[in-house]
Amino acid sequence: MVVSGREVARPAVVSVRTAERGAWALRGFSLDRAFTAIAVLPTFVVMLCIFGIPLLFSLYLSFTGWALDQALMGGEFVGLANYEDLMNDPVFIGSLGITFGYTAASVAAQMMLGLAIALLLNIDLPYMRVLRTALVVPMMITPIVGALCWKLLLEPSLGFFNYLIGQKIVWLGMPATALLSVWVVSVWQSTPYVALILLAGLRSLPSEPLEAAAIDGANRRQSFWHVTLPLLRPYLLVALLLRVIFEFRAFDNIYALTGGGPANATMVLSMFTYLTSFVRFDFSLGAAASWIMLLISMITCLFFIATIRRRDAN
């Protein structure tokens, strides 16, 4: 899976070492095992204890009923009733639709804009460093603060945006514009992330294929589509996967901007889960909703990994 440029340098070095390798391989094996155990164990101990146990508890909760007066524990075992309830809840189904739509729209915009920015930043011109620094800022900002900045900008009477366009639109007060606003904020905040990954990718691309294409007479557009993009594929896929996962569970923006409204227009899954667990205090249902989110994320992740592996095998 190493980028093609490097592959070339290796063979010569490898052949020399092979013989020696066989000799100490057996002795090395047990040393490896010891090191591995010590190195890997703490990670899994921490994950299992602090994360795994609550996670399993959450799974257990999702199969229990709603215990109104119990503070935290669920009620009796009810099998799949919670999941059924979710599937019959129009708000949840609506939330699924909104989340998928929002994720697709955000990620698409972030990928396209991010690629454009990366291509521009890759050009060798003075002061690129400064521009790159400036463009990365939204990514660094605490999401809650970032959303707040936009909330102030979009304020109907005091905000700069309405001043600029001369209208008094209540951006966060109407379903369509609220969804649009949330989308804008997420694109603003996360495009730099994509741009950075793709820029790193562009930087690491070998120059030979592009030069070869230029010599063969390809114009800029052709060499972009047929040489650059395919080489950039691993980076594109990684950026895509990361953004899909994070936009799918986006919370801070929506919490700070709309709280899920108006009229449930921005009720993404994580907001739904949050309201279920922390406002309704129906932890069992919240756990079930979380697990549905987790399953969807896992399937998506598997799909991506399979795609990456399959392509590499070819």
Partner: protein, 431 residues
């Protein structure tokens, strides 16, 4: 503190009679108070009562004030774990159902307080507040703040349009609103229209004045989509959608925003939390300082039908608290006549009749006597644990109506269907 009030405080304290010394339970070095961070009404507690308590007893009161969601989560976790980490619990009406089992029987707490301070006068507390502080027959806290909905209005503007008194019925309200509506600078009516916790208080006054009800928690019978409720919601929605009597940004307004809107002269009338009027009349903060007057909310066809919601915050000691005697002492101080009078000046809405009807306060703030009248007949926010779920569905329905997406009937029918599912899940009423 102005000199007038400091003197009154001292006089009242002296008049309170001799207080019994506190039982010498082991003195902790601090007491932990867990509450929410919304609204400045707690300022008296944090800035004055706390230090005064520390001065008197040597115990520091540590105020942990969290955003509402975090506060609820924390309280749930602490109570669920039987933790002794919270000495003084602040809880609000909607939490009554699940908080109550974890609290001491506050009739006993009351007995201890009265034994120590005969001047405490439990009878001074309004009936509505005592009702709200109890759940399932058990008194679970001492009321500190009782809020209710009143009609606030800019008297001069209404008079200019020919309305000498505040509207007393829905129809009069509609007429008055049409008369004073002056878009785009100033609208007739302001309300909390954001899909959030402000929607229920916005609807509740209209709902109850029209004779509507929510549901019966014992039998599971749902009333939210009957004719009266539909009428109420449709009336409110028409103000927003049909007649455009509200500023367009009300769909983003919650508690602070409606106050800010009043201060910025965005509307002439509103149904809102009684103590907010103090902020709207504050000449330092408000463009409209001094213009606001109070009255009870309009009744459906007659003023006598005027009904509104009652909510509030209570101070309580949990069963698990270690320093119960000292916590009780703090609560005694905070809820005493003198301190409640003082707290009203700084934004609180106390549950004591004597305080609300205090002539000097009535003169100065305007709303207290109105609030006292409203509380007497007020409907407490449901305390049943299932209410938070039911409320969420109601918020959706109201929001859809305010957006003009559905009629009140359609929206409330959907709410009722959701409530059926929730009640079944919760095992309430006929399954």
């Amino acid at each position: 503190m102005s000199t007038l009030n400091r003197r009154r405080l001292l006089m009242a304290a002296a008049a309170g009679g001799v207080m019994m010394p506190i039982l010498a339970q082991n003195k902790p070095d601090k007491l932990v108070y867990l509450g929410d961070n919304q609204g400045g009404w707690k300022r008296t507690l944090t800035e004055e009562v706390g230090p005064a308590f520390e001065k008197e007893t040597g115990i520091k009161v540590e105020f942990t004030l969290l955003p509402p969601d975090a506060w609820l989560a924390r309280l749930k976790a602490e109570m669920g774990a039987g933790s002794s980490g919270v000495d003084i619990t602040q809880w609000s009406v909607g939490m009554g159902g699940w908080v109550s089992p974890h609290m001491l029987d506050h009739n006993e707490v009351l007995a201890r307080i009265t034994a120590r301070d005969p001047g405490f006068d439990w009878n001074d507390f309004l009936a509505g507040s005592k009702l709200a502080a109890s759940y399932d027959g058990k008194l679970s806290g001492i009321p500190y703040r009782i809020t209710t909905g009143i009609l606030v209005f800019q008297k001069a503007l209404l008079a200019k349009a020919g309305f000498a008194v505040a509207p007393g019925t829905f129809a009069q309200f509609h007429k008055a609103a049409l008369a004073v509506n002056a878009p785009p600078d100033r609208y007739a009516f302001g309300l909390m229209g954001k899909q959030g916790p402000g929607l229920y208080p916005s609807l509740a006054s209209w709902l109850y004045s029209a004779g509507g009800r929510l549901l019966d928690f014992k039998t599971g019978e749902i009333f939210i989509n009957d004719d009266k409720a539909v009428t109420a919601l449709q009336f409110m929605a028409d103000l927003v959608v049909k007649d455009k009597l509200t500023p367009p940004e009300v769909t983003t307004w919650e508690f602070d925003d409606i106050t800010a809107g009043g201060q910025r002269d965005r509307y002439v009338m509103a149904q809102t939390f009684a103590p907010y009027m103090t902020l709207m009349n504050d000449p330092v903060l408000s463009k409209t300082g001094g213009n606001w007057f109070a009255d009870t909310v309009p009744g459906y066809t007659d003023k006598s039908q005027s009904r509104t919601w009652v909510d509030g915050h209570f101070l309580a000691v949990s069963k698990y608290a270690k320093n119960a005697d000292w916590s009780i002492e703090f609560i005694r101080m905070a809820c005493s006549k003198e301190w409640q009078l003082r707290s009203m000046e700084r934004g609180n809405a106390p549950p004591r009749g004597s305080v609300l009807n205090d002539p000097a306060m009535a003169e100065k703030l305007g709303w207290p006597p109105t609030a006292a009248r409203a509380i007497e007949t007020g409907v407490p926010t449901p305390a049943h644990p299932a209410w938070s779920t039911l409320e969420l569905a109601l918020r959706t329905g109201v929001s859809e109506t305010l957006q003009g997406q559905k009629t009140a009937k359609q929206a409330l029918d959907a709410v009722a269907a959701d409530w059926q599912r929730t009640l079944r899940r919760a095992g309430i009423g006929r399954a």
